[in-house]
């Protein structure tokens, strides 16, 4: 971070109105090294999952899915830190608070949807080898009556 919010008060209060807008926001720009580090990490964290899937490295699709998701999670954190300059200090912690709240809501939305819909599918649908366009055969429909 180039400047933390408390640095606002160290500025000359008079005569800097024109530059006031950006100087006080350490949140808005990082350093060259920071961007480069973030970029190189992102390239690595993107290339590895693509290689894992395209090269069919894992036999088990479940393992592959979990590993790829872990890489995505790490890369999202890298982007947040190096590109969006996320830290607990910017805007007195309000950005972090908003982010934590959003993550909670996102997790509830995703986990809740998958959980509920998985049970719905497991209980309601006759699951064949493939999803059929016709969920029920005519024989099955007759037996239901």
């Amino acid at each position: 971070m180039s400047s933390a919010p408390p640095a606002v008060h160290s500025h000359d209060p008079a005569g800097h109105d024109a530059h006031h807008d950006h100087d006080e926001h350490g949140a808005s720009h990082g350093t060259f090294g920071g961007y480069l580090a973030g970029f190189l990490l992102s390239v690595l964290l993107t290339a590895i999952p693509f290689w894992l899937i395209m090269g069919d490295v894992f036999r088990s699709p479940t393992t592959a899915a979990i590993v790829v998701l872990v890489f995505a999670a790490i890369q999202i954190v890298v982007h947040m830190v190096y590109f969006l300059h996320m830290n607990s200090k910017s805007e007195s912690g309000w950005t972090m608070l908003a982010l934590i709240f959003t993550i909670v809501v996102v997790v509830i939305t995703l986990a809740g949807s998958f959980w509920v819909m998985h049970h719905l599918n497991a209980n309601m649908m006759p699951m064949g080898a493939h999803d059929d366009s016709m969920p029920m055969s005519p024989e099955g429909a007759r037996q239901m009556r």
Binding site: S2, P5, V8, H9, D17, A18, H20, D21, H22, E24, H25, A27, S28, H29, G30, T31, F32, Y35, L36, G38, F39, S42, V43, T46, P49, F50, I53, M54, P61, A64, A65, V68, L69, F71, A72, Q75, I76, H79, M80, F83, L84, E91, S92, W94, T95, A98, L99, F101, T102, V105, V106, T109, L110, S113, F114, M117, H130, D131, D132, S133
Partner: protein, 206 residues
């Protein structure tokens, strides 16, 4: 009130902060809150895709349709546009108008390349008969990826607008604030794309 009794003492204590605790420029915080709400839109679309993503209706699956090479190319374009936007912000901090505009232009070119590849991909899918109407999987796929593409499109319009404004007015305080907002928007779209290429494309081809 206890406050008055204490305040009548020698050293009047203060129960509030005397300095301004509101950020002097609330725009960036406000824009961050917008991005968080945008995040919720994408969360719902991801949930939708997660639920419907395997309902092929005897149609083509992700494994049949997705071209991971093309997706890797698209990912590279978006990642490169992210770092070039970062360079633009660094040049802006150094108050160099010309090189800020240059890096914004490079960002715009990568963004345009991303959109071209995505439009090509969609056109190819539709040409093959994998239209949004074909199955629930394709409906949710086009909605999720299309919404992201639409965001990039609007980001492009915003980027061009800001390039014109910087050209005309220079790096004034207002333009710096706008560029900082677009920076957050652009990097945010890259974060969403991580979710898209992982959850939709990579896991879809498993």
């Amino acid at each position: 009130m206890t406050t008055t009794t204490i305040a009548s003492g020698a050293a009047a204590p203060q129960f509030y902060t005397t300095e301004e605790h509101h950020p002097e420029n609330g725009t960036l915080l406000g824009f961050w809150l917008y991005l968080m709400s945008d995040c919720l839109i994408f969360a719902v679309l991801f949930a939708c895709y997660g639920v419907l993503g395997r309902s092929y209706a005897a149609g083509p699956s992700g494994k049949d349709l997705f071209d991971l090479g093309l997706v890797a190319l698209n990912t590279a374009f978006l990642l490169l546009s992210s770092i070039t936007y970062g360079f633009a912000m660094l040049e802006m901090a150094k108050n160099r108008k010309g090189s800020t505009l240059f890096w914004l232009g490079v960002t715009g070119l990568f963004g345009a390349a991303f959109l071209c590849v995505e439009v090509y991909e969609f056109a190819h899918l539709i040409h093959e008969g994998a239209t949004p109407q074909r199955s629930a999987f394709l409906s949710s796929f086009f909605t999720l990826v299309g919404t992201h593409g639409l965001h990039v499109t609007f980001g492009m319009i915003w980027l061009i607008t800001l390039m014109i404004q910087v050209t005309r007015r220079g790096l004034i305080a207002e333009n710096r604030r706008r560029l900082a907002c677009l920076s957050m928007f652009w990097h945010f779209l890259d974060v969403i794309w991580i979710g898209v290429f992982t959850f939709v494309y990579l896991m879809g081809t498993l």
